[in-house]
C-alpha cells in the first residue's frame, strides 16, 4: 500500500523534492502553453499576424504549479493546509479578473477538486488509495450495478417504451431518444465483433453506410419501400461483411484493425467518387419516409387511394406521430439486437466467440474452425449495422458520405470499450455518456471534444477494462450467485 496515514508523520516533509516536482510540472505546462495558448494567429486586414497572450500563459503556469504542489502535499500527508489554501485559491479565482473564462473555470474547478481530495484524505486517513484498492472498489461498484441491472434492465425498457407519452417528452426529447437508440443499436452490433469475438474493428461505419445507401439507392432506382429494403439492406451489409471478412480474417490484432480502418475509408471514398451512381458528395436526398407497415402514410393530405395514419386511427394529424413511430421502430430494432446477442451468447457459437477472444490457439487445438466463427461474427454484426443504416437513411431523408466518416466508427468503438467489452448494459451507459451528455450541453459544444478526451483519459486511468466489465458465466453447474457475491469471493481468495 502506498497510502500514508497522517499518524506516520515521522517522516519529514522533503520540501525541496515537492517544490522540484511542482516546478517540473509547471515547466511542462509552460512548454505546452507557450505555443498553443501564448501565440495566436489573428487575421488583421486580411493579413495573418501573431498576437501574444503571455498573461494567460503566466496564469496557467502558476495554476499548474499550485495544483501540483497541492497534490504533492496531500500525498505527503499534509492535507489540512492544502484544503485551506485550495479553497482560498478557488474563491479568489472566482472574484479575480482572470484573463479568460476557461482559465477561471479551470482555477475554480481545479481548486475545488484538490480541496475535495484533501478533505477526503483528512477524513479517511489515507492520502491516496492504492491502485489495487481502487480497482477493487470499482469492481464492487460494477458488480453491484450488474446485480441491479436485473431490475434496472426491465425498468429501462418500460421507461423507453413509455417515453414518448411522458409529459416532458416534446419533439426534441424524442429526437434525442432516436439518436441515442441508434447509437445503442450500433454499439450492441459492434459489441458482437469487438466485445465477444475480440476482433478490433475500426471500420464498422462502412456497414452502416452500406445499409443506408442500399435503402436510398433501391428506393431511388426501383422505388422499393422501406419495409422491403430493411431486410435487403441487412443482407447486403452482411454480404459486404463476408466479402471483407474472407481476406482479412487471416490477419491478427493490429493488422486486422488497420485493414478494417482502410475498408471503412474505401467505402466512403467510393461513395464520394462514384458520382453517377451515388450522387457523390451531394449525397441522396428525398429518401422516402417509412409508411405505417405499408398500410398508411404519415401525411396530412394523402394522395387519393392512399390511407393516412391519422385517418386510420381517427386521431388529429400531428407531425410528431411519425417521429414517435420512428422512435418505436429503432427501439424495436435495438431490442431485437440485444435479445439476439443475449441469446447467442449462450449458444455454442457465442461461447466460441468468447473463447476466440480469450485464446485463439487453444480454440484451434479444440477443433474449432476459427475462420468460420470469425466470419459469422463479422457478417452478423455487419447485418445489424446495415439495419441501423437503413433506419438512419429513412429518418434523415438525406444521406451523404460525410455522415460515414471515421469519427463515427471511433465513437461507436469508444462506446463499446467505455462500457466494458461484451457488456450489454455498459453500451447503454456509455452511449448516455458519450452521446447524451454532449447533446444536453450543446451550448458548450466548443469544449465537447476536450471533455471527450478528458473522459477517455480518466477511464483509461481508473477503469481500463471499461465501466461495467463484470462478466456473468453463460451456464452454471451450481446455484447462481449474485455478481456481488462472486466479487466478494474472489477478493477473499486474493
Amino acid at each position: 500500500m502506498t497510502a500514508v496515514a497522517p499518524g506516520v508523520r515521522a517522516h519529514t516533509l522533503d520540501i525541496a523534492a515537492v517544490l522540484k516536482e511542482s516546478a517540473l510540472a509547471a515547466l511542462v505546462a509552460l512548454l505546452l502553453a507557450f505555443p498553443l495558448v501564448g501565440l495566436r494567429t489573428v487575421d488583421v486586414l486580411s493579413r495573418l499576424t501573431i498576437e501574444p497572450h503571455f498573461a494567460e500563459v503566466a496564469v496557467a503556469v502558476v495554476l499548474v504549479f499550485l495544483g501540483r504542489l497541492g497534490m504533492a502535499l496531500t500525498r505527503e500527508g499534509r492535507p489540512l493546509p492544502v484544503l485551506v489554501a485550495s479553497l482560498v485559491v478557488a474563491a479568489s479565482a472566482w472574484f479575480l479578473p482572470l484573463p479568460t473564462m476557461p482559465l477561471k473555470l479551470i482555477a475554480v474547478a481545479g481548486g475545488a477538486i484538490i480541496a475535495l481530495r484533501a478533505a477526503l484524505a483528512l477524513r479517511s486517513h489515507h492520502s491516496t488509495l492504492s491502485l489495487a484498492e481502487r480497482e477493487r472498489r470499482m469492481d464492487r461498484v460494477g458488480a453491484r450495478f450488474q446485480d441491479a441491472s436485473r431490475l434496472i434492465g426491465p425498468i429501462a425498457v418500460i421507461f423507453a417504451v413509455a417515453l414518448p407519452f411522458l409529459p416532458f417528452a416534446d419533439r426534441a426529447v424524442v429526437d434525442i431518444g432516436i439518436l441515442l437508440l441508434t447509437y445503442i443499436m450500433l454499439g450492441w452490433g459492434l459489441n458482437i465483433v469487438v466485445g465477444l469475438a475480440g476482433l478490433l474493428d475500426l471500420g464498422y461505419v462502412a456497414f452502416y453506410a452500406v445499409g443506408a445507401y442500399s435503402y436510398a439507392l433501391l428506393a431511388q432506382y426501383f422505388g422499393f419501400s422501406f419495409w422491403l429494403c430493411l431486410p435487403l439492406a441487412g443482407l447486403l451489409a452482411s454480404l459486404s461483411g463476408l466479402l471483407l471478412g474472407f481476406p482479412v480474417l487471416r490477419l491478427r490484432g493490429d493488422y486486422f484493425a488497420i485493414v478494417t480502418l482502410g475498408f471503412g475509408e474505401m467505402i466512403r471514398i467510393i461513395l464520394i467518387n462514384w458520382y453517377d451512381f451515388t450522387g457523390g458528395p451531394n449525397g441522396i436526398s428525398g429518401i422516402p419516409r417509412p409508411s405505417f407497415f405499408g398500410i398508411a402514410d404519415f401525411v396530412r393530405n394523402p394522395e387519393p387511394g392512399v390511407l393516412s395514419f391519422h385517418e386510420l386511427f381517427g386521431v388529429e394529424y400531428s407531425s410528431i406521430q411519425r417521429i414517435i413511430f420512428l422512435y418505436y421502430l429503432i427501439l424495436v430494432l435495438a431490442l431485437f439486437v440485444n435479445f439476439f446477442t443475449l441469446r447467442i451468447r449462450k449458444l455454442p457459437i457465442g461461447r466460441a466467440w468468447e473463447a476466440l477472444r480469450e485464446d485463439d490457439v487453444a480454440c484451434t487445438a479444440l477443433g474449432i474452425n476459427r475462420t468460420n466463427i470469425k466470419l459469422a461474427a463479422f457478417s452478423i454484426a455487419a447485418m445489424f449495422g446495415g439495419f441501423a443504416g437503413s433506419f438512419f437513411a429513412t429518418r434523415q431523408g438525406f444521406i451523404s458520405p460525410e455522415s460515414f466518416s471515421f469519427i463515427e466508427s471511433a465513437i461507436i468503438l469508444a462506446i463499446v470499450v467505455l462500457g466494458g467489452m461484451g457488456s450489454q448494459a455498459g453500451v447503454v451507459v456509455a452511449t448516455l455518456l458519450v452521446i447524451g451528455l454532449p447533446e444536453m450541453f450543446r451550448e458548450l459544444s466548443q469544449y465537447r471534444m476536450l471533455a471527450f478526451g478528458i473522459g477517455m483519459v480518466l477511464i483509461m486511468l481508473w477503469r481500463p477494462r471499461g465501466l461495467l466489465a463484470h462478466r456473468d458465466p453463460t451456464i452454471l453447474l451450481h446455484k447462481r450467485k449474485s455478481a456481488m457475491q462472486q466479487q466478494q469471493e474472489s477478493e477473499d481468495r486474493a
Binding site: 455454442p348 490457439v361 487453444a362 480454440c363 484451434t364 479444440l366 458465466p473 453463460t474 452454471l476
Partner: protein, 286 residues
C-alpha cells in the same frame, strides 16, 4: 485383471523432419505410438520435443515426413501432415495441451469444458438456428455436454469450482482443467506437453494416476512430453528419447534407462550442465 487385447498402432511418425530456414529442429524422427499405451517423448532442452508436437497437431507443417493416424475400421487412416490444425482435432481426434497453459481464463471452468465440445453442440444446435429458438434437440445435447463436463470435472476434482473463472484457479488446478478440457473433445490420442511442469510431488502423483486412468478406462493413446522422470518412468509403456532433433533411443522405460546413448545425452561426455538430481532420478527412478 483380464488380459487386455494387444495394442494396435495408433499414430505412426515416419521420417519427420522440420526445418526452419537453416536450422534443423527435427531430423528423420520415426516412432509409433500404440493405442491404449502411454508413449513418452523425453530429451534435454531444445531437443525438438515440442516441435514434434506442433507438427503432429498441425501448428507447423513438417518439411518432410508422414504422420499417419489410424482410426477404428472401417474408417481410413488420416495423414496429419495434410490436415489443417482444427481438422486434426476435429476429424483425427488428436487433442493437446500446452506447455504454457492456454485456458480461456476469462470464462468459467464449466464454459471451458463446454467450448471443447463445440463441434458436437454446433451440429446439435443446427448451426445456431435450433439453438436460437431453444428447440428440445439442442437442449438435450447441451445437457449431455454438461454431463460429460461434470464427469471429467469430478474426475480431476474441480467440480466444486466449476463456476469459477478459470484464470482464478491455482496453477495445479489449471493444469488439471486443461487435461479435462482436452478429454472433453473425446480424443483418440491425447498429447500432453509437460503436464507435470510446476507441480509439487503430490500433484505429480495425482497426475500419474489420472493418466493411467485415461489409458486404462478410456482406452485411448497418450503421448506425453515430460521432464519429470518420476512420472515418465512409472507410467510410460514406451519412451522415445530425442537429442538435437534426432531420435537416440526408443523402447520400454527399463531399456531406455540403461541405454548408453541416453546416459551420454543426459550426463554429457564431459559431464556438464546437467544437475545431479536429474541424473539420480533418471538412474534410480521408478
Amino acid at each position: 485383471m483380464t488380459v487386455p487385447p494387444k495394442p494396435t498402432p495408433l499414430l505412426e511418425v515416419e521420417h519427420l523432419t522440420m526445418r526452419f530456414g537453416g536450422l534443423i529442429a527435427v531430423s528423420e524422427v520415426s516412432f509409433t505410438a500404440m493405442d491404449r499405451e502411454i508413449t513418452a517423448i523425453i530429451g534435454p532442452n531444445g531437443a525438438g520435443k515440442t516441435t514434434v508436437f506442433n507438427c503432429l497437431t498441425g501448428f507447423y507443417t513438417p518439411t518432410v515426413g508422414r504422420l499417419t493416424m489410424h482410426r477404428k475400421p472401417p474408417k481410413t487412416p488420416l495423414y496429419l501432415e495434410r490436415l489443417e490444425a482444427y481438422r486434426i482435432a476435429h476429424k483425427a481426434r488428436v487433442a493437446r495441451t500446452f506447455q504454457n497453459i492456454r485456458l480461456f481464463s476469462g470464462m468459467s471452468v464449466l464454459e471451458n469444458m463446454i467450448v471443447a465440445q463445440h463441434n458436437k453442440l454446433m451440429r446439435a444446435s443446427g448451426f445456431s438456428l435450433a439453438g436460437l429458438f431453444g428447440l428440445p434437440v439442442y437442449r438435450r445435447a447441451e445437457r449431455a455436454a454438461v454431463d460429460l463436463a461434470r464427469y471429467w470435472l469430478d474426475r480431476v476434482n474441480l467440480i466444486d469450482v466449476a463456476d469459477w473463472q478459470a484464470g482464478n484457479l491455482p496453477y495445479g488446478a489449471q493444469r488439471r482443467l486443461e487435461i479435462a478440457r482436452a478429454m472433453c473433445t473425446e480424443p483418440a490420442l491425447l498429447c500432453l506437453d509437460e503436464p507435470a511442469a510446476g507441480l509439487n510431488p503430490r500433484e505429480s502423483a495425482e497426475l500419474s494416476d489420472l493418466l493411467t486412468f485415461i489409458r486404462d478406462e478410456h482406452k485411448i493413446g497418450v503421448l506425453l512430453i515430460e521432464h519429470d522422470m518420476s512420472v515418465v518412468m512409472t507410467i510410460s509403456d514406451h519412451v522415445v528419447v530425442l537429442e538435437y532433433g534426432r531420435k537416440i533411443s526408443d523402447g520400454t522405460p527399463a531399456e531406455v534407462r540403461v541405454d548408453p546413448a541416453v546416459i551420454r545425452a543426459y550426463l554429457g561426455e564431459e559431464e556438464e550442465e546437467t544437475p545431479p538430481e536429474a541424473v539420480q532420478r533418471l538412474a534410480g527412478g521408478a
